[in-house]
Amino acid sequence: MVAQLTALERTYAAIILVVVICVGVAMAVVGRGDLLAVHGWIVAAYGMAVMVVLLRGIDASEPWEERFREYYDDPTRVGIILSLIWGVIAMAVGVWVAALLAWPDLTFDAAWASFGRLRPVHTSGVIFGFGGNALIATSFHVLQRTTRARLPDQLSPWFVLLGYNLFCVMAATGYFMGMTQSKEYAEPEWYADLWLVVVWVVYFLIYIRTLARRREPHIYVANWYYMAFILVVAILHIVNNLAVPVSIGHAKSYALFSGVQDAMTQWWYGHNAVAFFLTAGFLGMLYYYLPKRAGRPIYSYRMSIISFWGITFMYMWAGSHHLHYTALPHWVQTLGMVFSLVLLVPSWASAGNALLTLNGAWHKVRDDAVLRFMMLAAIFYGIATFEGSFMAIRAVNSLSHYTDWTVGHVHAGALGWVAMITFGSLYALVPWMWKRPALYSAKLVEVHFWLALSGTVVYVFSMWNSGIIQGLMWRTYDQNGTLAYSFLDTLVAMHPYYIARTFGGLLFLAGAVVAFYNVWMTISRPAPIDEGAAADLPVEPPAPRAWAQAGE
């Protein structure tokens, strides 16, 4: 992989790694006696591990100029593997925390194994580790194919991918040690947040620089969504994480906002993380891999426009529906509810556009589990967005809020939409990336499909039951005008559903393990000579000095 970097890039890489290692050691020194030091050593060790890889390949001959006429896919390949590794680990932790809720004694009296620490490992692991790596990997792939331009250089994609994973490692290890700023989906502390800003800006620049050099007159819809994902996540991340550290040598920080302002900022962030990380980014994925796999044109370009601007404009206002019936002023709640309702229309237009694209290819959906994953994702996208708008209505929210219904809703989106479209896309992408004629086993994809679908259905139905029972028990009064049930009564009622939920999660995890095995076997089989490889090139037969432009 190092052989793909120019000599100058290798020098820059070495300099960056030295800086990272020095920063890590500096964190360890100024943060001694604090958990910051542990993270300092982790940063330094991570930097040194990458340095070892770099030094082992540093003497390799420089890439030929011809190379710069091809797409640059090494970071995508590594990103796919990382995504699947994070996915299996984080879903396993998910099953664990689900089991903890059914059998609370499973903590073994160890602080690191308590629910409060394991849960963010699960959420960050699946959202950022599994989802984030898949987004980075596929965005680099889609960006190059739809612009017919090679990535601007060989160093910055690695900086983004490896830098992002360093952030994920800091997040997960920090949770185990009890480090958190107590903001959901934004738990990592200030120094990790600062690092992610640097990584994210470079990610955005890669996109801009590649688009600027595109050989296509128009920018494809998938890139609109990927761009919205990158840009808005940067804004959300920076604003929500504004905080003042206790000191430069302490991991702990305090948020700039307090009280209801802090809550509103957090849920503006939280809901738009769902919108722009878990929706926009994965819609980008859907828009490339679904029509590609189905071999059908997108049903309506005009609907794409309505959907895109509807989603990007209206999601921004919807966050306050997380704070219905709280200290948040009523007028903010009204705005959040109204925008959440209108949001349903562009969301369903997106789902409909995807499903109508399959017209003329339904026989492929029947026969090809990979395409069926994508079709199912679009259906669950429709279900989850309908449910989301419904739950944002204040009266409905008074029943659903704080109950397992919310958890069920999130997983309808996360398992049914995000994970399904990711698995479908990765299954499509893996043979292309490793130049294999097909996946190791189509049958295993079929097995995975049914495991994933049944796991999701079991999970979501048990949480619907549990959540609605819970919500109703909380608000049931007896004829004397007092509450009919105690909190303990609700726990007893929910227990069977917690066991069912754990089982559903286990099915889904089993599917992810099957996917990892299938991908691994696909990669480790010897590559046949691929005659189609020549077709996957960015530009027409080389004009004189064309490589210099593509590789600049």
Partner: protein
């Protein structure tokens, strides 16, 4: 200028753009999309006019319906209180013993008490009040501070070793750790104490220990547990001759109690619950005990 082509499946034209084989159709936006977009937006506008919505400067638009969530909550709370007023006033004013025999009020005590007990007491004392390691069985066992309803209410109000200034205070000394007694003496006491409730039969081997323990008991324990070891309610010291144990009656558990002492804790619920709630709970517990007794169960 891109030129479109006709898609044979749908009959629609493409836009003429192509990205790595992906094309797009120029299909018009289906009518239902426009319809729902307009309908939902109109609903949003109307709803925003009815409810508090837009901010301006230092205030906000209050909505034509004049709905205010704080007033709504206050109104609902008043309504709830009014609904409960009739029976609540009776429980607040009437005598505890009278309520316990009142066929009209006791079903209300049982229903309301179930929820109050479940939310506040069951975490330690168990759902049926049957206790847990370290937490006494309040459904059946004799109560350390007395078990008439008025005393139960007082114990709930002030707590035991709690934060209320009037809290009940109780302390079993750490005879071993504080070096009042040597280890062999503690062991002799363990044997004697257990023999009081028949957990250890007198045999030739332990006769000497029991005799020594009796001596030690008279010197160290009777101030709180009484000469007959039946406990003193004034200081919350338990009866050692019955078969109820809060921390267990095994040799190891009794040894731990004598060696390291015990200081149970019950929160001062008067700082959190209303006098009515406390009265309901006291009656609920008293009723629970009566039912246990009537059923012949002693909770062991």
């Amino acid at each position: 200028m891109a030129v479109g082509e006709r898609d044979p499946v749908t009959g629609h034209m493409t836009t003429g753009h192509e990205w790595n084989g992906i094309k797009e159709l120029h299909t018009p936006v289906p009518k239902p999309v426009w319809f729902f977009l307009i309908a939902f937006t109109l609903f949003g506008v109307v709803w925003s006019l009815l409810m508090p919505s837009f901010p301006y400067g230092t205030g906000y638009f209050r909505g034509w319906l004049g709905v205010d969530q704080k007033q709504t909550v206050a109104k609902r709370l008043d309504e709830g209180a009014a609904e409960r007023a009739a029976w609540a006033a009776r429980i607040e004013s009437e005598d505890l013993a009278a309520i316990l025999t009142d066929a009209e009020l006791m079903p209300i005590i049982r229903e309301t008490g179930h929820t109050l007990f479940g939310d506040n007491c069951a975490a330690c004392h168990g759902v049926g009040g049957s206790g847990n390691g370290g937490y006494p069985n309040i459904a059946a066992a004799p109560m350390l501070w007395g078990d008439d309803p008025a005393t139960i209410a007082e114990t709930i109000r002030v707590g035991i070793n709690g934060s209320d200034p009037e809290t009940r205070v109780s302390q079993m000394m750490a005879f071993g750790r504080d070096q009042v007694l040597e280890r062999p003496a503690v062991l002799q006491l363990v044997t004697y104490v257990r023999s009081l409730s028949g957990l250890e039969e007198q045999t030739e081997e332990n006769a000497a220990a029991i005799a020594a323990g009796r001596e030690l008991f008279a010197q160290n324990c009777i101030a709180c547990h009484g000469q007959d070891a039946k406990g003193l309610k004034e200081v919350g010291a338990p009866d050692l001759t019955d078969h109820f144990w809060i921390y267990g009656g095994g040799r190891e558990a009794v040894y731990q109690s004598i060696y390291g002492g015990r200081q149970g804790h019950m929160p001062s619920w008067g700082l959190r619950l209303s006098p009515l709630d406390i009265k309901i709970l006291a009656l609920y517990v008293a009723d629970l005990r009566e039912q246990q007794h009537a059923a012949g169960g002693d909770g062991t």
